[in-house]
Each structure stands twice: as structure tokens, then as C-alpha cells.
């Protein structure tokens, strides 16, 4: 039986149940506001958002795999492409572009063409250090970790901080194969 070809992001997005992006955006906003109240320090909020993204990523990967028919994730370049074309599309209805590969093919940039997290948002003076969309970098890191790729994901450009686009840098640190989890004498 030949493996099924991965489905396109558009096809998946057209077929899944969808909700108004405003519910999503406002809920995310409420969450960020809670963190700012609970944690006070902007730096702590950035960390927590990244952690929450990671927690989402390690779950979301299974939804992604189940719906996309992607059956292998061995090649980092291929995976980056799939995240940009299929991943962002099937969850957020947007596409990202993969650019700026480094020479050895272990780090690249994802540039977002749209970003539903930031509608309605303007950073007040007290939150200038906030990476409002930090959840996204966490999601990518978490999801890739579940398919054995340890990565580091950082923001290069952020429109809420006055840049002209949203750009994430994804760097592959190492690929970790599955190990036999028991000791021999256990």
C-alpha cells in the first residue's frame, strides 16, 4: 500500500470545522492579560507564553499528523516547508514563507503573511518588551520536538514592535531518535 500523499493546507482548512477568528484573538488577548496580571514582569510573561506554546505544540502535532497524512518527518528542510504551507494554513488559515536558509540547511526564517493573534492589539508603553505572539514560537518548538527535532525558535521581526513583518527564526539543534526506554535488568 503506497502511503497517501500529504494533503494541502487549503484542502484541510476547507474541510475542518472553523470558528470566527475574533473569538480566538480575544481569548488569546484575555490570556495574555491574565499573565501580565499574574506575573507582572514582561520578561516572565514572554517565558510563560513560550512555555504555553510549547505545551500546545506537543499536543497539536498529533492533530496535524492525523489530518495531513504526513507520515515521516526526517528532513528538516521538508518539515519547515510543511509547517509553513500546511501547518499555519490548517490551524490559522494563513500561510507563511520559508526564507533565508543558512548554508548548512539547519536554520531558516518563517515569515508570516498575516497574523490573527494581533488584531486589536497595540502594546502599551508598559509592555514594550513583550513578545505578544511568543506562543507561536513555543508551538513550533513543541511540535518539532515531538517529531524528534530539537530546535530553537526566536523572533527576528515583530510588527507590534515596529518592524515590517512577523519573522521567526527556526534553528535545528539536533535530531534525537527514539531510544529503548527500559534498562536491561529492569
Amino acid at each position: 500500500m503506497a502511503p497517501l500523499a500529504p494533503r494541502s493546507g487549503d484542502a484541510i482548512f476547507a474541510n475542518v470545522e472553523r470558528v470566527n477568528a475574533e473569538l480566538f484573538t480575544l481569548t488569546y488577548g484575555a490570556m495574555v492579560r491574565q499573565l501580565l496580571t499574574d506575573l507582572e514582569e514582561v520578561e516572565e510573561v514572554n517565558k510563560q507564553l513560550d512555555q504555553m506554546g510549547y505545551n500546545i505544540g506537543i499536543r497539536l502535532i498529533d492533530e496535524f499528523l492525523a489530518k495531513s497524512n504526513v507520515s515521516r518527518c526526517v528532513d528538516f528542510k521538508e518539515s519547515a516547508d510543511v509547517i509553513a504551507k500546511v501547518g499555519f494554513k490548517m490551524f490559522l488559515g494563513i500561510t507563511a514563507t520559508v526564507t533565508n536558509w543558512d548554508a548548512d540547511g539547519t536554520s531558516c526564517s518563517l515569515v508570516l503573511e498575516d497574523n490573527p493573534l494581533v488584531d486589536f492589539v497595540e502594546l502599551p508603553d508598559t509592555c514594550q518588551g513583550l513578545y505578544y505572539c511568543n506562543v507561536l514560537s513555543g508551538v513550533i518548538r513543541g511540535a518539532l520536538e515531538m517529531v524528534s527535532m530539537k530546535t530553537e525558535v526566536t523572533w527576528v521581526r515583530d510588527m507590534l514592535r515596529g518592524d515590517d513583518a512577523y519573522e521567526l527564526r527556526v534553528k535545528l539543534l539536533k535530531q534525537v531518535p527514539e531510544e529503548y526506554p527500559y534498562k536491561d535488568d529492569e
Binding site: 498529533d62 499528523l65 515521516r72 518527518c73 515531538m146 517529531v147 524528534s148 527514539e178 529503548y180 527500559y182
Partner: protein, 161 residues
């Protein structure tokens, strides 16, 4: 490693157990048990054997792959999706079918040896897991699965297989 285990040895092609093991934890957890006539080992033992069997078989099958040049070394762990993978094996008393996702989840069905191809069933069970475990706001990865929606959906599905 995360592993689902749905077994059935009865002649009615009933699925019997469903185990899940969470990342980095070696305790086995029985999620769903229909009716297994014989329980030979402790579930912990069962689970270790199952993992060892799959781990070695995968390694062997990849090594024997006549169509691939890169075979790696026997026993050296592979990346998910690397090398070929096997879908099922049969003995005179049961058939074991496996689906392994790139995220390391293994879903195993043990059924009557005459059962046909079960890849579709395995996929369906994976989608139930995604729907009712992964998206349950009260489930945290790595903890025991207690999702009555999953159980209901699995029971329903098994009845109709």
C-alpha cells in the same frame, strides 16, 4: 515514547485492551479492556515485551529492506519515519497490526489471525485519540488518560468493526 495498545484475541474480532504510555514514563496504563481470555504476564511486563518486540522488529525489517541503500546499523535507534516500517505480522493464534506516527505514538491492534488489513482502523483510533484526548482541556500530556468520551467512541467503533 508513547504507545497505545489495543488488543483482541477473541474470535469475534473484538478489540480488547488499550494502553497508553506517556513520554519518558514506563508505567503502562490500561485504558480500555474488552475481554481478554488469558492474561499471561503483568501488564508492565506485557508492555516492556511489546516495546522490545516492535523496536527490534523495526530495526530488523529496515536492515532487510532490499530497496534501500541506507540501512543504518542493527539496533541503532532510528528517527521516526526513517527506514521502512512493518504494518502487521501474523501467528497461528493472533495477528498484530501496528501504526506508528512520526510523533512516536504507536497504536497496536491484536486480533484474530484471519483479520484483514487494519490500517484504516488504526488511523481511525488515532483520530479518536486526537479528538478526545489531545483536545480535552483537562488532559495533560504525560498523565493518565481518563476520557469518557474516548471510551464511548472506542466502544461504539469496536461494536461496528
Amino acid at each position: 515514547m508513547r504507545m497505545f495498545h489495543v488488543t483482541s484475541i477473541s474470535y469475534k474480532r473484538l478489540l480488547q485492551d488499550l494502553f497508553e504510555v506517556s513520554e519518558g514514563c514506563s508505567s503502562l496504563e490500561v485504558l480500555r479492556e474488552w475481554n481478554r481470555p488469558l492474561r499471561t504476564l503483568s501488564s508492565q511486563q506485557d508492555h516492556k515485551l511489546m516495546f522490545g518486540l516492535l523496536f527490534s522488529l523495526k530495526s530488523f525489517t529496515a536492515k532487510m529492506d532490499p530497496s534501500s541503500v541506507e540501512k543504518g546499523n542493527l539496533g541503532v535507534p532510528q528517527l521516526p519515519g526513517q527506514g521502512c516500517s512493518f504494518h502487521s505480522f501474523s501467528t497461528n493464534s493472533y495477528k498484530l497490526s501496528l501504526m506508528e506516527t512520526p510523533s512516536g505514538i504507536k497504536i497496536i491492534l491484536v486480533t484474530n489471525p484471519k483479520t484483514g488489513d487494519l490500517q484504516e482502523s488504526l488511523k481511525h483510533i488515532y483520530s479518536l485519540y486526537v479528538e478526545y484526548v489531545v483536545k480535552n482541556p483537562l488532559y495533560s500530556p504525560g498523565t493518565q488518560i481518563r476520557c469518557e468520551l474516548l471510551n464511548t467512541a472506542l466502544d461504539q467503533y469496536v461494536k461496528n468493526v
